[in-house]
């Protein structure tokens, strides 16, 4: 090395760290005021929509007023129905968590704090559309009036479980309710949703697909495959990214990298992308409706980053106190989705504390009643499961010889 060459700089990496005890002030970036964001035309140029990726679509202001371009056309009854559904999801989640603590189920994952996104989007879509959900959208099923007892039977893995105890709790499936079978392998469903939407368009159908993914799983390559296909074929699909800020213990920085937002991901694929307050039921409904309308009129895919917070643990198998600030939910700048819709209804003069308490009691009673019925069928913990023989069914459409022989062997065992 000659004397004139500078001393080489040792190379270093940036390793993002969990927030642990303290709450970083920029935890949620780019919070626009309610009503601040204009609503673009459905066929607005992607370059103009791209300006929105560092902003936030919000409808409900701090007083509970619905303001701005994005205020959706919704009746008071529809809003009350939304509140009821979110409360039902929350009550269901709480009851299942309790069942886990009581040792009645093996595993559970709550959607606490994220209820508005699934419930309001389901309300904005139509029967026949197909969701490809993650494990944190039970609101899609509950909003479409899938029976709570059936959901609970799946969670209990009992003899009445429609999936015959084959899947972990919360990995529901219901074609009739537009809810694709959940995979524990993250992100696989994202490109499948695009494929489903492509099929609908190839056949000249009218149904659209809705793909769901958490912000952490956007790091998977299937996410990128999905965006390429959606962009190339202009598939009629809504590409939801639920940014709840946590991928088990790692903060959003890991999947986002040095980008400003996850909505940024859309721009490189020329997919219009919105960034929306996911705890604002009206904003979720309006943005979902906008994206669905684009899909239904052959304007192609829309990516939506929903800003929310995973209030609970990742699952019943982890302890978030090790890696996240204790006051995070209380300090979350977008508040709680149930409180905010309740406040809006109060603001409209359509709701009061007594009504709310009555509704809470009603949904709790509904959940208790359903759980009593589901529990009467037992659970995986009590050994009240279906016949083990059923594990050989549905591997193939017809039972092949080798599986028949293996099933026979299982039966022969003393």
């Amino acid at each position: 090395m000659s004397d004139r060459e500078p001393t080489p700089t040792p190379l270093r990496l940036r390793i993002p760290q969990p927030a642990r005890g303290k709450h970083p002030p920029d935890r949620v970036r780019y919070i626009s005021a309610a009503g601040e964001m204009a609503k673009p035309a459905l066929d607005e140029k992607v370059e103009r929509i791209a300006l929105m990726r560092k902003q936030l679509v919000r409808v409900l202001d701090e007083d509970g007023s619905a303001v701005g371009d994005w205020v959706p056309e919704m009746s008071v009854d529809e809003k009350k129905q939304g509140l009821r559904t979110m409360l039902l999801v929350r009550s269901y989640d709480a009851r299942m968590l309790q069942a886990h603590r009581q040792g009645k189920i093996s595993f559970y994952m709550r959607s606490l704090g994220e209820e508005a996104i699934a419930c309001a989007q389901q309300a904005a879509l139509r029967p026949g559309d197909m969701h490809f959900p993650t494990y944190r959208q039970p609101g899609l099923l509950i909003s479409s009036e899938y029976p709570l007892v059936t959901m609970m039977n799946q969670v209990l893995s009992n003899a009445e479980d429609p999936l015959h105890g084959r899947q972990l709790p919360v990995m529901y499936s219901s074609k009739a309710h537009g809810f694709f079978s959940i995979s524990g392998n993250l992100a696989t469903q994202y490109i499948q949703a695009v494929g489903w939407a492509m099929a609908s368009a190839l056949r000249g159908g009218t149904e659209i697909a809705s793909a769901w993914i958490g912000e952490g799983a956007t790091a998977e390559s299937d996410f990128h495959a999905a965006l390429v296909f959606a962009s190339t074929y202009q598939a009629p699909v809504i590409l939801n990214i639920v940014n709840n800020h946590w991928a088990i213990s790692t903060p959003e920085d890991f999947a986002r990298g040095a980008s400003a937002t996850f909505a940024d991901r859309g721009y490189g694929f020329s997919i219009p992308a919105l960034r929306v307050d996911g705890n604002d039921y009206l904003a979720v409904y309006a943005a979902s409706q906008w994206a669905a309308e684009r899909a239904r009129t052959n304007l192609g895919p829309t990516l939506i980053e929903w800003i929310t917070l995973r209030v609970g643990a990742h699952s019943t198998s982890d302890d978030p106190s090790v890696y996240r600030p204790p006051e995070e939910a209380a300090q979350f700048p977008l508040g709680d989705p149930v409180d905010r819709l309740r406040q809006h209804l109060v603001h409209l003069g359509e709701w009061d504390d007594a009504q709310h308490e009555a509704l809470q009691e009603e949904v709790d009673a509904q959940v208790d009643e359903a759980f009593a019925e589901a529990s009467s069928h037992g659970s995986v913990k009590s050994g009240d499961v279906g016949s083990a023989k059923t594990m050989f069914d549905d591997v193939y459409a017809e039972l092949p010889r080798h599986l028949r022989e293996q099933r026979d062997r299982l039966e022969e065992l003393p």
């Binding site: 197909m130 490809f132 429609p162 999936l163 015959h164 084959r166 899947q167 990995m171 499936s173 219901s174 074609k175 694709f180 079978s181 995979s183 392998n185 696989t188 994202y190 490109i191 499948q192 949703a193 695009v194 494929g195 489903w196 939407a197 492509m198 099929a199 609908s200 190839l202 056949r203 697909a209 390559s221 299937d222 495959a225 999905a226 390429v228 296909f229 190339t232 549905d394 591997v395 193939y396 459409a397 092949p400 010889r401 080798h402």
Partner: protein, 337 residues
């Protein structure tokens, strides 16, 4: 009957299946406008339109993932992975999704799709254009795995695979696309037009998935094999003056156990062969199956002749490929045991 290459037979199978069922869609890298790098889908887009046969981005995970979604919608996708060596990015979609969808949803959603891939060596393709990954599929519950060796079977099996309600992995040894390669690279290529299995019926016919074919009847020993090695086995047996019974398995899962047992019970000697690497290859499954079911009829230990456990080489292709010399040597060993 028309004389066809295996490429033409595969193309014809697509035509027949797409004509009969408008839910059959075909896509993959270069398969649409161009008709595939091996020309197996040539003419499909022209005949059926770009909503039935189309090109995709270079994304195997995208191709199979989209196919799973389309199958869940109600279509019957038949997709091409350009070389089996490029399958790995799609493996999660194949193993965790296509193979398990019916089971995990208790039949609520299904994935009736076909994933075609050219496999095997003999074309100086090096390690990224020569692999035979069939064992990576046969190990997965929920998949059916087919390997074809000739035009007649290729057409009937591809039609049956497309009509099958389960996901089928359809492997096409590229060395036999244009003729029955006997393992002698220095000899002139024999075209399918001079081989009886190059005679292909017109229109629709099925060869059922899960059925083996008795390729050559014999009494000295049984050869269990598939794909290119069927023809290599035939040449090796002739060169060594052995009356080999050669079974072309055609489908690896579900396996036609009865045909295997009947033959080994008769000959008492069993040679297992494939191009894929030896260790944990499908040959191990075959050897175990024969041992379990034919133990007391065996007059000699089962011998496997397979690819060496190395990456597929470029310059040393013919030292790697289990050609007639290696196969013949093993046959003699088996007869002398």
């Amino acid at each position: 009957m028309t004389s066809m290459t295996m490429i033409e037979a595969i193309r014809d199978a697509h035509m027949v299946a797409m004509e009969r069922d408008d839910t059959v869609v075909v896509f993959g890298e270069d398969v649409g406008y161009f008709g595939g790098v091996f020309r197996c889908t040539q003419g499909l887009q022209e005949r059926f339109g770009d909503h039935r046969c189309f090109d995709t981005p270079i994304s195997e995970a995208g191709i199979v993932g989209a196919a799973v979604g389309m199958a869940a919608y109600g279509l019957r996708p038949c997709v091409e992975i350009q070389f089996a060596d490029y399958m790995y990015p799609a493996y999660d979609q194949i193993v965790s999704e296509a193979a398990r969808l019916r089971h995990r949803s208790a039949g609520d959603f299904t994935a009736p799709l076909v994933i075609r891939m050219p496999t095997g060596g003999g074309i100086f393709g090096g390690q990224t254009h020569s692999q035979s990954p069939e064992a990576l599929f046969t190990h997965v519950a929920g998949l059916k795995t087919v390997v074809v060796s000739n035009p007649y079977d290729a057409k009937g099996l591809l039609i049956a695979a497309i009509e099958d309600d389960d996901p089928v992995i359809f492997l096409e040894p590229k060395r036999v696309y244009n003729g029955p390669f006997d393992g002698h690279p220095d000899r002139p290529i024999v075209p399918w037009s001079k081989h009886p299995l190059g005679e292909v019926p017109e229109g629709h016919y099925r060869i059922e998935v899960g059925t083996a074919r008795l390729h050559r009847e014999g009494s000295d020993l049984t050869v269990l094999t598939y794909g290119t090695m069927v023809h290599v086995a035939e040449a090796a047996a002739e060169e060594h003056g052995l009356d080999a019974e050669i079974i072309d398995l055609r489908t690896l899962v579900p396996l036609d156990v009865d045909t295997i047992v009947a033959s080994v019970t008769k000959t008492g000697r069993c040679l297992v062969m494939h191009e894929a690497t030896l260790t944990s290859g499908f040959g191990a499954e075959l050897a175990a199956t024969v041992q379990e079911r034919c133990m007391f009829h065996l007059e000699a230990p089962i011998i496997r002749v397979c690819g060496w456990d190395t990456p597929y080489p470029h310059a040393h292709e013919w030292s790697y490929f289990p050609g007639p010399a290696r196969v013949g040597y093993a046959m003699r060993e088996l007869m002398d045991a």
